[in-house]
C-alpha cells in the first residue's frame, strides 16, 4: 500500500442545526479521514470526534441513514449511494464539504 494513503486527510462536513447544538460546534466541522474517503469513514470520524451524535445520523444496529437525513457532495445527492463508494476528490481534498441535511418536513 502506498504509505501516503495512510496519511489522514482533512474532510469538511456541514451538520444540520440541531446536531451542531448537540455537539457544541459551528456549522462546519473538520475531520481526519484516511483514504479512501467514503461516507462510512466520514460518519465513523464524526461519531468518534462527537460521540453524542451516535445514533442521530445512522441507526446503531443497521448503520442505515435515518430516513429524514440526506447526504450531498458537490451538488450531487449521495443519499442513496453505497456508503463505501469514494466521495469526489473535491471532498477528499477539502475543497468542498460533505453536506448532511435534514429533509424539509413539517412546513
Amino acid at each position: 500500500m502506498n504509505p501516503s494513503s495512510l496519511t489522514p486527510l482533512t474532510i469538511r462536513v456541514i451538520l444540520p442545526y440541531h446536531l451542531r447544538n448537540l455537539a457544541h460546534v459551528g456549522p462546519e466541522v473538520a475531520l481526519q479521514v484516511v483514504e479512501p474517503v467514503t461516507i462510512r469513514r466520514v460518519l465513523d470520524a464524526i461519531e468518534t470526534a462527537y460521540p453524542m451524535l451516535r445514533g442521530t445520523i445512522r441507526e446503531y444496529e443497521t448503520g442505515q441513514r435515518r430516513p429524514f437525513l440526506r447526504f450531498f457532495a458537490c451538488a450531487e445527492d449521495w443519499s442513496l449511494e453505497s456508503v463505501d463508494k469514494s466521495l469526489p476528490s473535491a471532498v477528499s481534498e477539502g475543497k468542498e464539504p460533505l453536506l448532511i441535511i435534514g429533509a424539509i418536513a413539517g412546513g
Binding site: P16, H18, L19, L22, A23, H24, Y50, P51, M52, R54, G55, T56, I57, E59, Y60, E61, R66, P67, F68, L69, G102, A103, A105
Partner: protein, 352 residues
C-alpha cells in the same frame, strides 16, 4: 420529563424527532444545563465505546431476553415490534442513577448508570399476552410507570392499548392486572388485555391503592390492581387522560373530563378540573380561574402534577400551552404561563 425524588438537581428528559430519532437528555443542575448522559460536549467521553444513552435495543439474548414476537396491528393483523420513542421516565425513589423508561413499541427499559446505557426488562414484553397488544391512537406506548413505595420489587405500568401490568419481583415476571375493566370498543369487553388505559396515579403514602383514567371510565383498585371498579359517579363525561391524587389526602382525586374520544376538548368549552374528596363517585367541578367559555384544549396524561406543600398544590398543562396552578388543592386556579407549545409533561419540585 422527570426529576429524581432524592436529588432535585437531577432531571431526565426525552426528546424525539423524525430527523434525529430518540435523544435522552439529563440535567445535573436543576435544568440550567443539559447533556446526553456520558457524552458531554467539549469533554472526552467517560468511556470507550461511549455511552449510548439514545440506544433502546429490545433484549433478545437467550439469558435475559425474550424472542421479539409480533403484536396486533390496528387492523388485527400481526406487526413486528419497532422502537419509536421514549414516552415516560421514572427515576428510582432511592437512587438518582437508576431510572426506568417506558417506550413505544411498548417495552420497559432500565438504566443503572444515570441514563448512559439502557437494558430492557424483557419479561414484560415477553410474558405471553404480547401478540394481543395493539396500539392506541397515539401508538403502542408504555406511558405510565409507578414504583411501589413500600415494596421495591413491585412496579405497575400501563400500555395503550394493552392495559395495566404488575411485577412483584423487580421486573423479572409480569402479569396483566385488568380485572374489572370494561372496554366496549374491543371484541371481548372484559378481555385480559387490550384495554386503553390512559393513566394511573397512586398516593405514595398508600401503596396498593390505584386510580385509573381509562379511555372511558375512571377506575379504582384497593388491591394493587388485582380488581378494579368504576368510580366515574357523577362526572359529566368520564373520558380523559390525566388523573392525580392529593399529596396529603389519599381519597382526594383530580381528573380533567374531556368530551369524548372523538372530540378531545372539555365539555361545552369549559375547562374544569373535577375533584372527588371521597375516593371517587362524588365529584365537584373546580372552575375558579379556569376559562369557562371557548376553551378547546386537551390535557395530556403526563401533564398534571401535585406538590407536597401543606396545602397541596395542583398543576396541569394544556395542549394550548397554558400551565395552570392551584396552591389550595384545586379551589382557585391561575395560569402561571400561557404561551408555550403543547404541554406534554408537567413536573413539580419543592425546593427548600
Amino acid at each position: 420529563m422527570k426529576g429524581s425524588p432524592i436529588d432535585p438537581n437531577r432531571i431526565y428528559a426525552s426528546q424525539t424527532s423524525g430527523w434525529f430519532g430518540q435523544l435522552l437528555q439529563c440535567s445535573n443542575d436543576g435544568g440550567n444545563t443539559w447533556e446526553q448522559p456520558g457524552v458531554k460536549p467539549d469533554e472526552a467521553p467517560l468511556s470507550w465505546p461511549p455511552a449510548k444513552s439514545n440506544r433502546f435495543l429490545y433484549d433478545l439474548s437467550p439469558e435475559t431476553g425474550k424472542p421479539l414476537t409480533t403484536h396486533q396491528w390496528y387492523d388485527g393483523t400481526q406487526h413486528p415490534w419497532e422502537f419509536k420513542r421514549v414516552w415516560h421516565l421514572e427515576p428510582l425513589l432511592s437512587d438518582a442513577e437508576t431510572v426506568y423508561t417506558g417506550v413505544e413499541d411498548a417495552a420497559l427499559f432500565r438504566s443503572t448508570d444515570g441514563g448512559k446505557n439502557w437494558h430492557e426488562l424483557a419479561g414484560l414484553r415477553g410474558h405471553g399476552t404480547g401478540p394481543a397488544w395493539q396500539p392506541g391512537a397515539g401508538g403502542m406506548c408504555l406511558h405510565t410507570i409507578i414504583l411501589d413505595t413500600a415494596n421495591p420489587d413491585r412496579i405497575y405500568i400501563a400500555i395503550s392499548a394493552a392495559g395495566a401490568f404488575r411485577t412483584d419481583d423487580g421486573g423479572l415476571t409480569w402479569k396483566p392486572i385488568n380485572k374489572g375493566l370494561v372496554s366496549n370498543m374491543i371484541p371481548d369487553p372484559t378481555a385480559e388485555v387490550g384495554h386503553c388505559v390512559h393513566h394511573i396515579a397512586m398516593n405514595p403514602s398508600r401503596p396498593g391503592v390505584l386510580f385509573m383514567q381509562k379511555h372511558w371510565d375512571v377506575m379504582r383498585s384497593d388491591d394493587a390492581g388485582d380488581n378494579w371498579h368504576e368510580i366515574s359517579g357523577n362526572l359529566p363525561t368520564d373520558f380523559g387522560f390525566v388523573i392525580d391524587v392529593n399529596a396529603h389526602e389519599p381519597e382526594t382525586l383530580y381528573v380533567v373530563p374531556i368530551k369524548s374520544d372523538s372530540e378531545h376538548f372539555p365539555l361545552e368549552g369549559k375547562l374544569r378540573v373535577y375533584r372527588s374528596k371521597t375516593g371517587g363517585n362524588e365529584w365537584e367541578p373546580l372552575t375558579k380561574g379556569l376559562p369557562q367559555q371557548d376553551c378547546y384544549v386537551n390535557v395530556l396524561r403526563d401533564a398534571m402534577a401535585v406538590d407536597s406543600l401543606d396545602q397541596c398544590g395542583v398543576y396541569f398543562g394544556t395542549t394550548g400551552g397554558q400551565v395552570y396552578c392551584s396552591s389550595d388543592a384545586g379551589d382557585n386556579w391561575q395560569p402561571i404561563v400561557h404561551d408555550l407549545p403543547a404541554v406534554l409533561s408537567v413536573e413539580v419540585q419543592t425546593l427548600a
